[in-house]
């Protein structure tokens, strides 16, 4: 796999197509493994997608006493192996992004595996495939670097930069905030 997942929060339109599509992925048993949150609905309609960051040294795997969370050669962090998982839920507490969830009925942990059956062949994961606003993208590393550079440049052109204490206001401000 030569590509990475790239998120651009301010593009998110809150449609949750990514969640619906996640349920459609091969072995996801109709449960979504990514999430969309409002920053603060009472203030603005700004939403953002929350996906597994596929950490290089994932907290979920580190805190797993049974060593049930495997990482593929490509760096994809998989759901806990059923035969090893002891159901302690350390992974759900350990992840700083709240990604792993625990199914109490089935007694197993599930998390985003970047649609491994797709992404290992360089086909975009379902969430990135369908995202109508391209808030979630499956792109080359170089393209990601370019996008990040351009974003910083645009911020400079527009004369905007985040300030201490108002980081949540920053995104709506940049794209036109509602005023009376």
């Amino acid at each position: 796999m030569n590509k990475i997942m790239y998120l651009e929060f301010e593009r998110c339109i809150g449609c949750r197509a990514c969640q619906a599509a996640c349920r459609e992925c091969g072995d996801h048993d109709a449960k979504e493994r990514n999430y969309v949150e409002y920053v603060d609905f009472t203030e603005s309609r700004q939403t953002y997608p929350m996906l597994c960051m596929q950490c290089k040294d994932p907290a979920c795997a580190r805190v797993c006493p049974a060593n049930a969370i495997q990482i593929t050669d490509e760096g994809v962090v998989l759901s806990a192996m059923e035969e090893k998982c002891i159901g302690c839920r350390n992974c759900t507490f350990g992840c700083p992004f709240g990604i792993p969830k625990f199914d109490f009925e089935e007694n197993k942990m599930y998390k985003c595996d970047m649609c491994y059956d797709r992404s290992k062949h360089d086909i975009a994961p379902m969430c990135a495939s369908v995202c109508p606003s391209e808030a979630i993208r499956f792109i080359d590393f170089d393209e990601m670097q370019q996008l990040r550079r351009r974003r910083s440049q645009m911020n400079l052109v527009e004369g905007k930069k985040p300030q201490e204490g108002n980081k949540w206001e920053y995104v709506p401000e940049f794209f036109g905030v509602y005023t009376d």
Partner: protein, 717 residues
């Protein structure tokens, strides 16, 4: 590379034992390309796969599209005809149901004449079916009373475009050009929620520096990312557009060469907008003067701009005027008929474009021919094999049909692929109409709110069990493919209509064996009309990724960009909109001090008859809500989630509040996708646009009252 992956073209995951059938989504006008996954051995639909090679949507889908396939074998599907006996539906055979329909239809026509029957169509169907509904009403039943739910959705855009450009094609440019535009002026459209897959094009353009201006009373997810958000009072669009025209002229942004060569009435327009200074416009609309000036500046300075609008400006008692004025903005800038610029309306229903061209409107025949034009009547009569004298006269519009029921002129109705018991305004009038009918037949695949009033419900198929064409948001004619066999004893609409027509003694006019035969007749019927599909064939659609109408011959390439040379008016020039400013049909008063406006949420489609049955979508948005500003909420001592009683001069309902700063302080928004006691259309006004006869869903006056917070099921008091 795995064997599971398609070897050629863009890659899709291809699982063993499955085949991918290429088709389009059944919901909105975007008609997103998708593959449906079908189990090869059982023929069952098992899922969906994005279609990366469809140029309009590139594999993008919204949550409705992703879950659309789940309606196909849903447990609620009606699998056999239902007949109401002692107030309850009982399953029957097709023969029994058709016998009953024949008996009652004939009885009503013998007692009260041919026009005792009526047909209420819809535009979430293929072109073939839409065409056939018109023929079924006029030839099969011989009635003048036919109209369709597009009257609630598209007719003001149609009226405005016809007056301005001489023809009604929703978009003058293909969507794939949008990424090259420099400015989008979007009025009354919550694009991100209603046409989500369009958003990628705006972002592509925005990444290159394009600007976005959004006029909307709510800070929708679309308005949130706008460079200028014109937060106007509901119903004041014509003042806003006149104000923009004033500024475009005053600031010298007019493309004078274009206007003198290609537009009528510029001097009158100039005079008309003279008084719409930013200050006067601001007074009416409530939008700050600086914002108006900034918007006009951005729009006026953009070399390639697109004016887009949707139901927000069209569902008003002056919707046609609004469309004319907004279109005039593009004309003054010389943008219509050029690359990556022009005018577009977002079609709300799947075939909102095609469905309005082919004779479902009370006054139109296929190909946009007028029923009042003797030559048109003669031509269509020759295609249909009837005498021109047999052609019924124009009827009345959708909402007005219920007035005719009240008067006793209409006694029987056949509702096809539509759910007016949720989607029409002033619902108590509609419900009373249905109760008063002597005989109501509904064709649907779920038991909709309208179907619950029926005497006979006929099980129709979903979009995946039939084939045909639809016309998408851009005017591109595309193919819908058959994915699976009809469930139970359900039948495609065209087959149902043919069976009834046969029972009414008109079988020779409806001897179709497959949808393709209807398409061939339909092509001929549109030949020479303004909406000319004659040159379009199913093969061409497959080869060319869809064909844009007008396409008068098979060697014609189709028309992606409209009006490059001239317009369809008498002198070939566009008519600029000379329209003043009028109040909405109903405005706030002392008793009803607020504005009520309605619309969609991203998780539901139209009356919600389909999307309310999909688990994922219902989990995200299970019930309607009253969205209001914290300042308004505090005035009534309301907190988020409190129950609130909404009351208009017509009726009242109870919903939960949802508090957000992303709406005007004088406006309450409620989505309309629910029926019965949760239907906001109980409250909406029945003011109609004088030209398009479209109801004013977007504005009415409202009173609110706090109720003791109640948990659990909402009930109507």
């Amino acid at each position: 590379m795995s064997d599971f992956i398609a070897k050629e073209g863009v890659q899709n995951l291809h699982k063993p034992g499955e085949k991918l059938i290429t088709t389009h989504c059944c919901y909105c006008g975007m008609q997103c390309g998708m593959h449906i996954r079908v189990n090869k051995s059982t023929g069952n639909v098992v899922g969906v796969e994005p279609r990366y090679d469809w140029p309009v949507t590139n594999g993008k889908m919204c949550p409705k599209g992703v879950t659309a396939y789940q309606t196909i074998d849903h447990q609620d599907r009606i699998k056999k005809p239902l007949i109401k006996k002692n107030g309850k539906f009982v399953e029957s055979t097709w023969k029994e149901a058709l016998d009953l329909i024949e008996k009652n239809f004939k009885r009503l026509q013998e007692e009260s004449g041919k026009d005792a029957l009526s047909v209420f169509g819809g535009v979430s169907m293929t072109n073939e079916k839409c065409y056939l509904v018109g023929k079924y009403a006029r030839v099969g039943l011989g009635t003048r009373y036919i109209d369709y739910n597009g009257r609630f959705c598209m007719s003001s855009a149609a009226g405005g475009f016809i007056q301005t450009f001489g023809v009604d094609r929703g978009s003058t440019l293909p969507w794939t050009e949008l990424e090259h535009s420099d400015c989008f002026f979007i009025a009354g459209s919550n694009t991100a929620e209603c046409h989500p897959t369009s958003i990628q094009w705006f972002w592509k353009a925005k990444d290159k520096g394009a600007k976005l201006i959004v006029a909307d009373p709510r800070e929708t997810p679309t308005a949130r990312v706008a460079d200028v958000h014109l937060d106007l009072k509901p119903g004041t669009d014509s003042a806003l557009a006149n104000g923009m025209l004033h500024l475009i002229i005053k600031e010298g942004y007019v493309d004078e060469e274009y206007v003198s060569k290609r537009c009528n009435n510029f001097e009158e327009l100039k005079q008309n907008v003279e008084k719409f200074t930013p200050e006067y416009t601001s007074e009416i609309t409530g939008v700050a003067v600086e914002k108006l000036i900034k918007a006009a500046h951005i729009y006026g300075m953009s070399p390639r701009s697109v004016v887009m609008f949707a139901r927000g400006v069209e569902q008003q008692s002056k919707g046609v005027d609004n469309v004319r004025l907004y279109s005039s903005m593009a004309l003054l800038r010389g943008q219509v008929g050029k690359f990556a610029s022009g005018v577009a309306t977002f079609t709300g229903q799947g075939n909102g474009q095609g469905g309005r061209e082919h004779g479902q409107k009370s006054d139109l025949l296929p190909g946009y021919r007028k029923l009042t034009d003797p030559a048109a009547v003669e031509y269509i009569s020759s295609i249909w094999g009837i005498d021109p004298s047999e052609m019924p006269k124009p009827g009345v519009s959708a909402y007005e049909m219920f007035g005719e029921i009240e008067k006793g002129n209409i006694r029987g109705m056949h509702v096809i692929c539509s759910n007016p018991a949720v989607s029409a305004p002033n619902l108590e009038h509609i419900w009373n109409g249905f109760k008063k009918l002597d005989f109501l037949v509904v064709s649907d695949f779920f038991l909709s709110e309208t179907a619950s009033f029926a005497d006979v419900v006929l099980p129709a198929t979903t979009w995946a069990e039939d084939e045909g064409t639809t016309t998408n948001i851009e005017g591109r004619v595309i193919r819908i493919r058959k994915v699976t066999e009809p469930i139970g004893e359900s039948k495609p609409d065209w087959e149902i209509l043919s069976l009834i027509a046969e029972r009414m003694g008109k079988g020779k006019h409806f001897s179709y064996k497959k949808a393709g035969e209807i398409f061939e007749e339909f092509r001929l019927a549109t030949k020479g009309g303004k909406a000319d599909y004659y040159g379009i064939t199913w093969d061409r659609i497959d080869k060319e990724n869809g064909v844009f109408w007008p396409c008068p011959s098979e060697d014609h390439p189709g028309t992606p960009t409209m009006f490059e040379e001239s317009f369809y008016t008498e002198n070939g020039k566009a008519n600029l909109g000379i329209v003043g400013w009028k109040e909405a049909g109903e405005v706030p008063t002392q008793d009803y001090p607020l504005f009520l406006t309605t619309g969609r949420v991203v998780f539901h489609y139209l009356s919600g008859n389909q999307t309310r049955r999909v688990d994922f979508l219902m989990e995200q948005c299970p019930e309607p809500f009253a969205e209001m500003h914290p300042a308004l909420a505090s005035r009534y001592q309301l907190e988020d989630g409190d129950m609130v009683k909404l009351k208009t001069p017509r009726s009242h309902m109870t919903v939960k509040t949802k508090i957000t700063k992303a709406i005007r302080k004088d406006t309450v928004f409620v989505p309309y996708h629910w029926g019965k006691e949760l239907a906001v259309n109980q409250l909406t006004s029945d003011c109609l646009d004088p030209v398009s006869r479209m109801p004013e869903f977007k504005v009415c006056s409202l009173q609110i009252e706090k109720l003791p917070t109640k948990k659990g099921v909402l009930t109507r008091e």
